[in-house]
């Protein structure tokens, strides 16, 4: 999937991946896509809640390797 910016949130724990993602989204314009890689297992549910609450669309999410999670967020 194409993206405009990437955020490496590996090794970070709650709530840092969400806070960093929010900051990174601020640098994007409406419709641009942010790719996030995280290792915090709690981030899976947290990014779903974040997307729902903020209106930034979670285009897709998945596990890249054994313990890494990948998210694509579209700025609203």
């Amino acid at each position: 999937m194409n993206f405009d910016k990437e955020l490496d949130a590996r090794g970070l724990n709650c709530p840092l991946p969400i806070l960093r993602a929010k900051k990174a989204l601020n640098d994007l314009t409406s419709g641009q896509v942010l790719r996030i890689v995280a290792t915090d297992p709690g981030s899976v549910k947290d990014f779903q809640a974040f997307a729902k609450q903020t209106g930034n669309e979670l285009l897709s999410q998945g596990e890249t390797s054994a313990k890494e999670f990948e998210f694509f967020l579209k700025r609203k």
Partner: protein
């Protein structure tokens, strides 16, 4: 005859309104709920390293979700607003819920829970400092944010920090002791109306 017609008409209007109004109202309420910015107020009353986390984690996360957040710091919670926050300590004394584990060494060593009796903890000078150093190392190892960083993120995201004027005086602090992001020095009468209108209000 005319009277009968009016009452039939009234009944019809009433019936129709009963059908239309609930739908319109529900739609309007949903729109209002959608447009409203959620808000949270927190009362922070603890001044130790471990208890500094819940208010800052919740405040920064809520701000990231786009909520309006105010943190009212009172009593020991005022420590969280001090310019230098690096001196916060954690005390394992009298806290049976706190695991005492080493943040270094092989896994079998790290998994040992050092069950040290209170009387021993109380008798060793510097035990609190040792516990604090170990906890800070554990925090770093786990990728958990440090408190100063979290507080910075809160301030950056527009979290309002409010100090309890009464405890500032009670503890003999002055405004120069606190970070400039503290916007207000007020009392309970100012905080309660904010809390009344908030969607989430927590005492920590």
């Amino acid at each position: 005859m005319g009277n009968v017609d009016t009452s039939v008409m009234d009944d019809l209007i009433r019936q129709r309104l009963d059908e239309i109004l609930p739908q319109a109202l529900e739609k309007k309420l949903a729109e209002m709920k959608e447009a409203r910015t959620p808000s949270m107020t927190i009362i922070a009353t603890k001044g130790t390293l471990d208890w500094a986390y819940p208010p800052f984690i919740l405040a920064s996360t809520a701000a990231a979700l786009g909520w309006d957040v105010s943190v009212f710091c009172t009593f020991y919670g005022l420590e969280l607003l001090k310019k230098d926050i690096s001196g916060l300590k954690v005390s394992p004394l009298g806290n049976p819920g706190m695991p005492m584990k080493m943040p270094f060494g092989p896994d079998w060593f790290k998994s040992i829970n050092w069950n040290i009796p209170n009387i021993v903890q109380a008798g060793i000078p510097g035990f609190e400092s040792l516990a604090t150093t170990l906890m800070k190392q554990t925090i770093r190892n786990c990728g958990v944010a440090d408190i100063a960083e979290l507080r910075g993120l809160c301030a950056e995201a527009g979290v309002k920090f409010i100090a309890c004027q009464m405890t500032v005086e009670l503890f003999g602090f002055s405004r120069e002791d606190f970070i400039p992001e503290v916007t207000e020095y007020v009392g309970a009468a100012s905080f309660l109306p904010m809390a009344k209108d908030a969607d989430v209000s927590l005492f920590i």
